[in-house]
């Protein structure tokens, strides 16, 4: 029994001694992790709020999107002003930000603003970001990486100190309008080198991507999507694409006289043309039906959108007829027809069409219709202005494959009026 008491005392003493060890932590650094993180956050905060004119960067939510100019002015009180060429400045404003530590030290834009609006495109599914990890920092450059979307397509945002003039975005907004399809000019734009056409050029105002289509051999065409940055004076290809040995490098300055983007040094231009350099092939007539793409009117040219909207308003004002659907149906049947839905009934006018060697489609009315379309008749007066534009081109219609609908699996096709190439009418197809 006596031995047992000594055993207990021995164990107690051992426990006491083992617990008596110095509880202080030996840090690898001079300060605790908490202190170092706190200092890092303070440093980042000073860095962000440092430049007098804030920071400028080009934000692209994913590889399928081009870049938006992003100007940020961080204030020490937790507010940040964010201006951009997104939405032509309509989403500019102030939000709250914080620098925080979770897995890494991060920059979080914590109330709703411009970056969140971009993030919300297509039901929050475009892999955007509004929380970023700091990757590297200096007074000349801050590199951030998207935190929300940790896929292999991580958003990378490089910020550099902005100049005061960078904040004057009006000329950038104007440049975006210059890039969009024009009410006056042809739908087609070509890239020329020494005044020789080398590629077709297109700009998608939603995705902010340009696309370049050119031949790489007699039998093979190549299309490349390219992010471009839009500047007050012109545009620049961010990734310097190469077209059969010609590199699209440097800024293309906008020339309002020519309505063209010109890089004089490299003898390069992006110009409107009545004829496309190349168009993506679409097998016209392979699907039963096409319908005017009311879902994505921006896929038609601005000139057609303006015409169509004016036409609808005029017809309603003058005749009380509203038009809500325009189809070309039964394309791969014996009796293709134009099918127009109106509040006065559905008009069906039969057509023939032919896709010729020049790869254009030519339409003719057969004269067979459920309404009288003869000259002088009321339906002729109502519908003829529309028919002139959508099937009436004597030199046919260029056919362009314009990919699928954003939210549905249907394909889309644009028919460009060769008599008046400013009119490009986009349809979606279905059986």
């Amino acid at each position: 029994m006596k031995n047992f008491k000594y055993l207990i005392l021995f164990i107690t003493t051992a426990i006491l001694l083992s617990c008596e060890a110095d509880n202080g932590v030996d840090y690898l650094h001079d300060e605790s992790p908490e202190a170092r993180i706190s200092k890092q956050i303070e440093n980042y905060s000073m860095l962000l709020t440092g430049p007098e004119n804030g920071w400028i960067g080009y934000y692209s939510p994913n590889k399928s999107y081009g870049a938006y100019t992003l100007l940020t002015r961080f204030n020490a009180d937790g507010n940040v002003v964010i201006n951009s060429d997104y939405n032509l400045g309509g989403s500019n404003g102030e939000v709250l930000y914080r620098i925080d530590k979770t897995d890494k030290v991060e920059l979080v834009f914590e109330t709703h603003g411009l970056l969140h609006e971009i993030f919300e495109t297509e039901d929050n599914s475009i892999d955007g970001d509004f929380a970023f990890n700091f990757i590297s920092t200096s007074e000349e450059e801050i590199i951030l990486e998207g935190k929300i979307d940790p896929t292999d397509d991580i958003t990378r945002l490089v910020l550099t100190p902005a100049a005061e003039s960078d904040w004057e975005l009006d000329s950038v907004y104007e440049m975006i309008n210059n890039l969009n399809t024009s009410v006056e000019n042809s739908y087609f734009r070509n890239v020329t080198y020494n005044d020789e056409s080398i590629a077709s050029f297109k700009f998608n105002s939603i995705t902010r991507l340009s696309s370049l289509l050119f031949s790489v051999s007699e039998t093979k065409d190549s299309i490349i999507s390219q992010p471009i940055s839009i500047k007050p004076t012109g545009i620049e290809f961010l990734l310097k694409p190469e077209i059969n040995g010609v590199v699209l490098d440097g800024e293309f300055l906008y020339d309002s006289q020519e309505s063209a983007f010109i890089n004089t040094e490299e003898s390069l231009k992006i110009v409107h043309s009545d004829v496309p350099h190349l168009l993506e092939h679409y097998d016209f007539g392979a699907r039963y039906n096409i319908r005017y793409n009311y879902l994505e009117p921006e896929k038609s040219s601005s000139a057609f959108d303006v015409f169509f909207n004016n036409y609808i308003e005029t017809v309603f004002a003058d005749y009380g007829v509203s038009i809500d659907r325009v189809y070309i149906r039964d394309l791969n049947e014996e009796a293709p027809n134009l099918h127009i839905y109106t509040n006065a009934g559905r008009v069906r006018a039969y057509v023939t069409y032919e896709v010729r060697d020049d790869e254009k489609v030519y339409f003719s009315l057969t004269g067979d219709s459920n309404v009288d379309l003869s000259e002088g008749e009321i339906w002729h007066t109502i519908l003829n202005p529309l028919l002139e534009v959508i099937i009436g081109s004597e030199t046919g219609y260029f056919i362009e494959n314009t990919g699928g609908l954003l939210r549905y699996t249907n394909g889309t096709v644009t028919l460009i009026n060769a008599d008046h190439p400013k009119y490009a009418i986009n349809y979606y197809d279905f059986n």
Partner: protein, 319 residues
């Protein structure tokens, strides 16, 4: 032979004390830190937390979280923050339309809210989209937090945004709040045996409103299980005027008016479902009356009257 081991009694407390004292450490990484009071420098926080005793925090201990924190959603989900300029209006709406429709019932209502109000309400600007393409309207977590979604669509003129039982903000609040109620108190005895079965995860497979009614539920989501059924009945009952609610969910249709066999079968099935809904609603009303002294019909009338006032003013009236 088993031998009893005895230790002088004086040694035991000394040993325990010695061990505790020796092992105590100032560097204990799990040391409890009480929550820090919110930074009130922003006018939103001043309104929500320190408003002359009138704020939701001061009155009910309710924290309204409006600054983005991705801890509130899963990594696979996508959502965006609330617009900071809407936060005070949302706070007023929470108090006037949601909390207020209960507390207007008097002491019992006040007590009911005090006992069941969640600790936190999280405001999220958009829907929460899951990676499978589905989206959430709102959710409650473990009885302590309710997340309110698509707050950036706030529009006091839009009755649908406020009251649509299929996703309006007030029915969503009441739905999630009802989860807290059953998490703390269970559901009425017998409620889960009125309908013969629930559909589980098949609830989303093209289950129409008629299908749901035939099963005895007011919405397809209610066919998931008895808890969603319970919450949907409450949120629908509180959001729909009596005449409309009865017409859709309670009143028996006259099946003799139909002529084809299919129509008659359909009518009878709907009527059977409505009987089940009526039974459940009675149980739910009695459950609230017996347990909390709350008259749900009176809560509904208060809520609908208040929504009407909000629409007329395009604002939350000063109470």
């Amino acid at each position: 032979m088993k031998k009893n081991i005895t230790i002088p009694i004086i040694l035991i407390p000394l040993m325990i004390l010695a061990i505790i004292m020796a092992c105590r450490s100032e560097d204990n990484p799990t040391k409890f830190s009480p929550p820090t009071p919110p930074d009130l420098s922003h006018s939103n926080d001043a309104f929500l937390y320190n408003n002359d005793g009138k704020s939701l925090y001061e009155r009910y201990g309710l924290s309204v979280i409006w600054r983005w924190d991705d801890d509130f959603i899963r990594p696979s989900q996508r959502a965006t923050p609330v617009d900071e300029s809407l936060v005070i209006d949302i706070g007023k709406m929470i108090e006037y339309l949601w909390i207020g429709s209960f507390t207007a019932q008097g002491e019992a209502g006040e007590k009911f809210i005090q006992e069941h109000i969640p600790v936190e309400v999280v405001l999220i600007g958009s829907y929460i989209f899951n990676d499978d393409g589905t989206r959430l309207l709102g959710y409650a977590e473990a009885g302590v937090r309710i997340s309110l979604l698509r707050m950036n669509e706030l529009n006091f003129l839009n009755q649908n945004w406020m009251l649509d039982p299929g996703g309006g903000v007030i029915p969503t609040m009441n739905h999630e709040f009802s989860h807290i109620v059953h998490q703390k108190n269970g559901i009425p005895t017998g409620f889960n045996s009125i309908s013969e079965n629930y559909l589980g995860s098949s609830w989303s497979n093209n289950v129409s409103l008629s299908d749901a009614i035939k099963l005895g539920m007011v919405r397809n989501y209610g066919t998931l299980n008895e808890y969603e059924d319970f919450c949907e009945i409450i949120s629908h009952y509180l959001a729909i005027d009596e005449e409309t609610f009865n017409l859709i969910f309670i009143d028996q249709d006259d099946c003799t008016a139909y002529t084809t066999a299919n129509e008659i079968v359909n009518c009878n099935e709907l009527n059977e479902g409505r009987e089940k809904i009526a039974l459940k609603l009675d149980l739910v009303k009695k459950f609230f009356s017996d347990n909390f002294d709350i008259n749900l019909t009176s809560v509904r009338d208060t809520l609908l009257h208040r929504v009407e006032k909000v629409i007329n003013l395009n604002d939350i009236p000063e109470s």
